[in-house]
């Protein structure tokens, strides 16, 4: 899950980013409205944390522009403005949640998780793929009653795949949602992480859950809906005229605009 923090108070932005990263999120930070708008517009974030009083472009203006552009990324407003009419204005402009400073980090985390669940239509914080169980709150993973210890990045990848279980997820999409700007631009990183993940969740078990779809990406699914893969593959190739060349490379070049567009079309085909 990748989160954008738009907050001009650098110490706050940095400590938030640090806390979220420790929670396996990929985090980008922007210190003013213009930068924030550019990032939000060009990257497929899973959630945006937005301060309202920010330089260059006011928070509400930014939000309005985003929503007008059709970008529906969940937005949590994090601000010191606590008057009811300000909260109303924030939510009416298109925010999904509103949190007042000073806040508790746990609460912020819970709200962000809720936003992401809502966005992926999983109301249950416990994700289940066949006998694989993922507790998104505690980030504990177990399969057939056996606990699996994952690194932060492995978990992030698994969570994303589990939230989109049954769907084919391209490598670029994975990259976009699990890595932030600060991540190394190394194509191998994703492959290495995926390899480790596969080893941990599939290797010791008879049935494989994580499948590679050639030329399209990966899919996490129960073994019995094989037909689903074909459908998913079809849907994906239809919506995506050119087979993603980044698939093989894994590490996608940073071309935010085209990538986000592709992501949108993929979502639309779902």
């Amino acid at each position: 899950m990748r989160i954008l923090i738009i907050e001009d108070h650098r110490p706050l932005a940095q400590s938030l980013a640090r806390g979220l990263r420790e929670e396996t999120y990929a985090v980008d930070t922007a210190f003013d409205g213009e930068e924030g708008y550019f990032l939000a517009e060009s990257n497929p974030y899973d959630a945006i944390i937005l301060d309202l009083i920010i330089p260059k472009l006011d928070g509400l203006e930014l939000l309005k522009k985003l929503r007008q552009k059709g970008i529906s990324t969940p937005v949590l407003i994090l601000t010191a403005l606590d008057a009811p009419e300000q909260i109303v204005a924030g939510l009416e402009t298109g925010a999904d949640d509103y949190l007042i400073k000073p806040f508790h980090f746990e609460e912020l985390l819970a709200r962000i998780r809720a936003l992401i669940r809502r966005e992926t239509h999983h109301k249950d914080p416990l994700l289940k793929v066949s006998d694989l169980l993922i507790n998104t709150r505690t980030r504990q993973v177990e399969r057939s009653g056996q606990e699996i210890v994952l690194t932060a990045k492995e978990y992030a990848l698994l969570e994303y795949l589990a939230l989109h279980q049954g769907e084919v997820v391209s490598r670029s999409e994975l990259w976009e949602h699990a890595y932030d700007w600060a991540a190394e631009l190394n194509s191998n990183v994703l492959d290495v992480h995926l390899h480790h993940l596969r080893q941990k969740i599939d290797q010791p078990f008879a049935t494989k859950l994580l499948h590679t779809v050639k030329g399209a990406g990966l899919v996490l699914k129960c073994p019995d809906d094989a037909a689903g893969i074909e459908d998913a593959v079809e849907a994906r190739t239809e919506s995506q005229n050119e087979p993603a060349p980044e698939d093989s490379s894994g590490a996608a070049p940073r071309q935010p605009t085209t990538r986000s567009r592709r992501r949108d079309s993929a979502r639309g085909s779902r």
Binding site: L12, S15, L16, Q86
Partner: protein, 605 residues
Amino acid sequence: MKILKSLRWKLTLWFVLLLTAIFLVLGIFVYSSHRQALYEKFDAGLHLTALSISNFLAQGEDNSLAWLKSKLNSIEPATSFFIYDPAGKIILRRPPGPAPEPAVAPGSASLPEPSSEPEPSPASPSVPASLSAAVSPSAPASLSSLSQAKNEQSVRAELSAGEKSIDSLEQRLAELLGDYRTKQLSGPASYTIKLKAIVKDHTDRADTGHHAATGPDTATVPRTDTGLHSDRVPAESRPSYRVLFYYLPLPPEDEVPAVPRFLPEEGVYLALVKSSLPLDEDLEALRRLLIISGLFLLALSTAGGLFLSSWALRPVHQITTTLREISGSNLDIRIKEENFDRELIPLVEQLNAALDRLQLAFERERRFTADSSHELRTPLAAMINELEVSIRKPRSAEDYQQTISEVLATAQEMENILEDLLLLARMEAGQKSLDLRPVNLRHMIDESWNRLQNEGQGEAATKSGASASSESKAMGQSFPPGIKFYNEIDPAIVIRADSNQLRRAWLNLLKNAINYNEPDGEIRIRADRQDDKVVVTVSNTGPGIPPDKLPFIFDRFYRASHYYSEAGGAGLGLSIAKAIIELYGGTIRASSQPGLTTFEITLPL
């Protein structure tokens, strides 16, 4: 009087009073002129009649009675009249209403006598004798006795309204005049004459002077002695007649009308008395009409006044309604000037101006609340978050150290804000007495600049050291070495100031000029002596302040958002500079356009 506290009722009251006054004046005028006209008409009619009777009596023609009858008939029907006999008894009466016919005992003094008993001239033969002697002054002595007899029997004429009375008049008149010689005359002693009466004043042929004219408005007419039988009397013995008019209120039917006391001691009287009653009635009717219409007008004018006053007060209601709609959340409502009359436009304009100021004050307040909570809560949130994240899991000593120094830096930031706020509060309270000493303005500003430069370089150095990590930009106000500084103040200018305090104002202004400048921009300071003050201008290049933000730049925590936070500080610098300058009795104002922002500071020397 609660009602007098109501403008509406007051207006109504004045309106009613005004109308009432007009009505009263008009009413009195109408009434009196009507009255006068009535009386004049009345007088004219009577006069004519009286004159005619006098003439008739004077000529003594035989057919005169018929003529008199017609004359009397020609008197306006509304007018009543009475004819008295010499004893003061009414022998003829024409009341305006239906004929009165009270049955009255013959002995009583009441007058309308039944007509069935014509006066049979019961006056004894002695009476004519005495009458002939009437010329003698001794006559009054016998008057009373005659009058008694008269009262009892003589005036029995049938008296009734209209024709009939006048018909009987003929007879009665003949009788009376016939009796003239035989009767002794008497007159009641005390009656109040109201106005006029017809008196036929008999004068002796010898003109003894007993019967001199007494009344006003008299017409003395030579008369053959006994009227109708003038030919029988020698011309020189003719009496003269006096004609008087008077008005009397019409008495109740069964009462004797007031009889004039004009009756002389002797002689035959023919009195025509005209009651004023028809006039009174007429006037009474007019009066009633006036009162009723007055009351009606009062009611009408009250209603009209209420309507008019509420109509006049309608704009006030309109304004009230509009003002009532205004609350904290919709202060942008204004009273529409075009809906009002010219006289109210200044009021509306003033109200709107007051609303403008109110809205500005509200906006300021709202902005201050929002900005201050943002400025104070954000560092607090940063500290809490930093600590909460740190405590989630065990960390290395370096991690903790990092956390602590981050929190410390944020706490210092908050401390600075609080110090600034406290400084402002103290200055607002104006407690500190100023330690004024002569200071060279140019030196002072140079000093400030140098200090800023040292500070800036130091800060920039620490920043570059501390934030070499992931963040791209060094935070806070790094000192821009590219900015050119021109101090063009005349070194001769010396002001009296507390240099420590005033320097802070210059520092803040310079900081502002640096922070909102271009990296290679310039700052220019000039000073100009004017009489008893010095005007200092601090101008800097840079993008400028948008006009809509200009009024707020001295507000606490306010930052024209374009530069927000890149410039660092909490947005209190200019507020402090302003407060300090105002503490010295100076003023500061800013003007800006793209490329040039100027602060003009006026300080008393």
